[in-house]
Amino acid sequence: MNAVPLGHWLLLTTALFGVGAAGVLLRRNVMIVLMSVELMLNAVNIALVAAARAHGQIEGQLFVFFSLTVAAAEVAVGLALVVAIWRSLGRTDVDDVSVMHG
């Protein structure tokens, strides 16, 4: 039944995680950064489900539920901060948000 070996899943998730990380590092719009973070978290979820299947047990899938919930909560907090920034600044580029430095 286990048609796709675990190693392939690991490669897929690592690649997906890498794409997300690259998006976080390269894109400057906060919304795109948030989407890239979601991509990284989804790589985590796929890896968890694949590992749970490879082990034939359920703990990993349980973990995914928690991970999804955490991601939703994180986005809620992040968007609230973005709205607050938008209200005071009118822009949401990462580079614009830097009064403090040094």
Partner: protein, 516 residues
């Protein structure tokens, strides 16, 4: 599998501090809903809840585990649970309650008038204490991930709490962006650990990594375990602000409301080190396994001490300077963990030294921040110039801050000296002379930036001359912190014993102890 049918008596007993915090925080939210803004009782309710949690922890401390578990050995129950209620957890439960309590007391006057949402602020302080407790007792990858995320989310909200303040939301957003990236990395690392071991339970993972031939992806495990550990280290390193995962901290510290800065400088650090110790020592603490991460940890400790102390030299904002100072302090704590295999010194184990250091640091740093909170509130600024002439405007605050800084530098007989002495002693005892030398030298550098502020306080000319009257809460916190800084410095032995007793729970797990 053990017979673990829900025994509600046991569960309620051992979760008592956490249950009290949950009920207290939710109760505070509902209270605030109905009497919003009508009185100032919220901080006192918060303190009452924290006191109850502290008493419950004290009660658990004195309890004999064998009695609670009705004949089953405590080891059996503890080793298999997702959350451990052992002496190590108790220690950090007290740390979290103390942090939240002192921050609440010193922040009452500061937060008054800053925001219309008072009750929620204090409820978040309680949630933060709860999250720290969960991190300290986590014995399962899921609980570790949830605990760290919980504390992170609460910290983002608290940092950006003053919506009208540009700096506050900017600090919150930067904290959030760095945090969401590192927590995704940490989750990925945890997933790899689960993938190779086939369980999220730390003892089962410990057993699996001790028998590499049984791992699922054997041909990759030599590479995957260090990679996973490094990803997890990124997540925890972000929480405790060690280099190179520290970039958020100066901005978040400067932007956050000052009581929140005080909390960030102690709470997440203590809880993060608790998770780091539990995961790295109990699971990966055997001599063969620790070889994969001890070197990295030692290098990061050196980098953190150098970077924190050097970057602090040029800061003109005291909160920002304290951010770098607390990065440096995290580096000292990391030295103790990197030296954990060493022999005992001065009656303390290396990990006991770390806990002792955290205890001393908690009082000293929260005391220093109470002074900064008072000055920030009364002068409206946290720049170094706001401290000019503090010795004339409030001699008490000036002397107190000087003593706290002396303790942070590590001058005997203050508590900070024994903390540093213990961790560097542990480093020397385990042949890490380099780290000890770097620590002592950068400690000398740190004297420069602390004394810049002391000089400004005593010889600077104040912009305005009026006397500063700190709020009763701040006076209480400063006095408590002063007394504790002196007591821990003059009579360190009882505190060393408490720290040593707490880390007895942290022996690297031997394969035979694991109940499957």
């Amino acid at each position: 599998m053990l017979d673990l049918s829900p025994d509600w008596g046991v569960i309620l007993t051992h979760f008592a501090p956490e249950l009290i915090l949950v009920i207290g925080a939710l109760g505070l939210l509902s209270y605030d809903l109905y009497v919003r803004g009508k009185d100032g009782l919220q901080p006192w309710i918060t303190l009452g809840v924290l006191l109850a949690a502290a008493l419950a922890t004290g009660w658990l401390y004195t309890m004999d585990p064998a009695e609670v578990f009705e004949g089953r050995s405590a080891g059996e129950v503890f080793r298999s649970g997702a959350f451990l209620s052992d002496s190590f957890t108790h220690f950090f439960r007290l740390m979290s309650v103390l942090t939240a309590g002192l921050v609440t007391l010193s922040g009452i006057a500061y937060m008054r008038g800053k925001t219309a949402f008072k009750g929620e602020f204090y409820a978040f302080v309680l949630f933060a204490a709860l999250a720290m407790n969960l991190m300290a007792g986590a014995n399962d990858l899921i609980v570790i991930a949830l605990g760290i995320e919980f504390l992170s989310l609460v910290s983002y909200i608290l940092t950006g709490y003053i919506r009208e303040d540009r700096l506050s939301i900017e600090g919150g957003l930067k904290y959030f962006l760095y945090g969401s990236i590192t927590s995704a990395a940490m989750l990925f690392g945890l997933t790899y650990l689960y993938g190779i071991a086939g369980s999220t339970s730390l003892p089962v993972i410990a057993e699996a990594v001790r028998q590499p031939e049984n791992l699922v992806v054997t041909h990759l495990s030599t590479f995957i375990v260090p990679a996973a550990l490094f990803l997890v280290l990124a997540g925890i390193g972000f929480k405790v602000a060690i280099a190179p995962f520290h970039q958020w901290s100066p901005d978040a510290y400067q932007g956050a409301p000052t009581p929140v800065t005080a909390f960030l400088s102690v709470g997440p650090k203590a809880a993060g080190f608790a998770v780091m110790m539990r995961l790295f020592i109990t699971v990966f603490g055997t001599p063969e396994l620790s070889a994969t991460w001890l070197g990295v940890l030692g290098a990061l400790a050196g980098l953190t001490m150098i970077l924190g102390n050097v970057a602090a030299l040029t800061q003109s904002d005291v909160k920002r300077m304290m951010a770098y100072s607390s990065i440096a302090q995290a580096g000292y704590m990391l030295v103790g963990i990197a030296a954990f295999g060493g022999t005992a010194l001065m009656g303390t184990t290396p990990l006991g030294a770390v806990l002792f250091f955290i205890l001393a640091y908690l009082f000293t740093n929260l005391g220093a921040f109470a002074v900064i909170i008072a000055v920030d509130r009364l002068t409206g600024s946290s720049s170094v110039s706001a401290f000019a002439g503090l010795s004339k405007r409030s001699p008490f605050l000036a002397i107190a801050l000087t003593i706290f800084f002396l303790s942070l530098i590590g001058i005997p007989p203050l508590s900070g000296f024994f903390g540093k002495f213990a961790v560097f002693g542990a480093a020397v005892a385990s042949d890490m002379f380099g780290l000890a030398v770097v620590g002592v030298l950068t400690g000398v550098v740190s004297a420069v930036y602390y004394f810049q502020i002391v000089k400004t306080m005593y010889f600077g000319d104040p912009a305005e001359g009026g006397a500063l009257r700190p709020s009763p809460g701040v006076v209480f916190v400063v006095a408590t912190a002063l007394v504790m800084t002196l007591i821990i410095g003059l009579v360190p032995q009882p505190f060393i014993e408490i720290a040593n007793q707490a880390v007895t729970a942290l022996e690297p797990i031997a394969g035979s102890m694991v109940a499957r």
